[in-house]
Symmetry: C2
Subunit: 324 residues, 2 copies
């Protein structure tokens, strides 16, 4: 089994690769555990720090004409496509988002179709595909009405992935992820970046700015569970995906106020006091267009899971960061 991971230098890509290496095998459609022989870890910057000999790091631009051909050949069994321009940046630079989020995906799909037909492709989509008038709990049958270019681009990729799968060009599955919280490291240019920042920065002794109102409802998943759900989605036999290839993930529905209350409970009121409310209408407009709760019945029927509560999400972050 030979796997390509794009976005491998990102925090999620890195963890997915680590989890694949630790696991060592992936189940095929017959349920047999097949050894993972090789992982190509690809990103715009060369992913560093993979000591395992099964990993080959590579750098390049996936939207460049020959790149997909250099990454995928008939021995490729699996592609995990995580590379993307994030929401805030795709809104600021429309052309960059189109090139990376749509054109690169098309290049990948076309190369898989030509060189490795029927190979498995897992990618992540986003709740940013939703918008407009929404019920409190979004059903799986909710129409997509993106209010950002990022959401539009992810929805386009979902449509392409589903049709390439229907035609048998690939065996795709797109997991529509909640906002991943708590991300380690630095803020990024996603409109949702603050959702990790208001937990991570205070824990690290820093002040954090919350650009949205406390009553804002978010739909979240912890990094650990995101990795587990991605590996779960990768191992699902195609025969179980009769209801579709684009799957709204389960998640945890919490308000910003509840997140901060959990932070005070788990880490102390003085830590939670490091968060300062400072509304940013541009960010609030994007974030408020995303739904805060989903039914996700299809995903649950397939065995995908959600975090139990936000206190646990914070504790998992502390454990990972070795701070408790």
């Amino acid at each position: 089994m030979r796997i390509l991971v794009t976005g491998a230098a990102g925090f999620l890509g890195r963890r997915v690769i680590d989890a694949l290496l630790t696991r060592g095998t992936l189940r095929d459609d017959a349920g047999a555990a097949v050894p993972i022989d090789a992982i190509t870890a690809f990103d715009v910057v060369r992913p560093e720090g993979f000591a395992d000999p099964r990993v080959t790091p590579m750098a390049g631009d996936l939207s460049a004409p020959a790149q997909a051909a250099a990454l995928i050949d008939p021995t490729t069994t699996t592609v995990i496509h995580l590379a993307a321009v994030v929401s805030g940046q795709a809104e600021q630079d429309f052309d960059l988002g189109m090139r990376v989020n749509i054109d690169a995906m098309r290049a990948l799909l076309e190369r898989m179709r030509a060189a490795a037909p029927g190979a498995r492709l897992l990618t992540t989509s986003s709740v940013a595909v939703f918008g407009g008038e929404l019920p409190e709990t979004v059903p799986d049958a909710q129409v997509w009405a993106p209010q950002s270019s990022y959401g539009m681009q992810k929805a386009v990729c979902d449509l392409l992935l589903a049709d390439y799968s229907r035609r048998g060009f690939i065996d795709g599955r797109s997991l529509r992820m909640p906002t991943i919280v708590v991300r380690p490291g630095k803020p990024n240019r996603a409109a949702s970046s603050f959702a990790s920042g208001i937990i991570r920065e205070p824990i690290n002794g820093e002040t954090a700015i919350c650009p949205v109102a406390p009553e804002t409802v978010l739909w979240l998943m912890s990094p650990d569970l995101a990795v587990r759900n991605i590996l779960h989605g990768l191992a699902l036999p195609a025969s179980r995906l009769a209801q579709g290839r684009v799957i709204n993930m389960p998640g945890l529905s919490v308000t910003v106020a509840e997140m901060l209350a959990a932070l005070a409970r788990v880490c102390g009121a003085e830590v939670a006091a490091r968060v300062r409310l400072q509304p940013d209408p541009a960010i609030a407009a994007i974030v408020n267009s995303w739904p805060g709760n989903f039914d996700a019945g299809y995903a649950k029927s397939l065995g995908f899971t959600a975090d139990a509560d936000f206190d646990g999400v914070i504790r998992a972050f502390l454990a990972l960061n070795g701070q408790r």
Copy 2:
């Protein structure tokens, strides 16, 4: 006012142009009637038969690099994009469908953004964007789940049009049309071609083959009303489209059996007897994935209308063809 019509050699494009010429003006957002100075009638084959000096026929490939630039300049106020590879053909030739239905649309959008920012773009989408498990009456909030490459391509165009409009690059509106019945002329490669054929051919004294079961429910609109709804959509001020740029049209929900009963009522039992049932699983699979009834509440609130009954649709066809 300078208008570009793509797909101008098609039966709908031709009628839209005739209607624009007859009307002579289009309302702007302030409600003022602005004269139509020029119409570029574009298609892969040069549209013939326009005697009006306001019409300039042109032929070319809209997905070719320089074509959109040759068609749209800063004086272009309005684009009516009807050119498409139809459903059956897009299913048979995936690459052709991608090129014409998606790449050409992107070229058009990019050229409008560059040369005529904010110009109005009207295009037609399709009920083929829907599929999978569907309620009997499809609500406006129904998720898109295309079961054909044509449906996927139309859904991608809808997403692009909506986001280009949101960003102010264009002023777009996509009318998600029912199957247009009764089309004049010859059968085409749309999976829905039979829906016109089973009325048109018997009226012309010919045998027609019906490839789907009599209980198949179709969602229809007459050509006359399609043209009227397109002109209505073109004149709607952008301010009224707050609920979205992609609009499920109202339509007439009828079964094939009801269509044939109407044919017998209007034209006689001997005419209806010219239809022979001969199931075609490939066509039935596509057609059965399309919903047969829609709520279309948003469209109705905007003043779009549906045919009253199928007898009237047949009578309109007879009148147009001068046969009664």
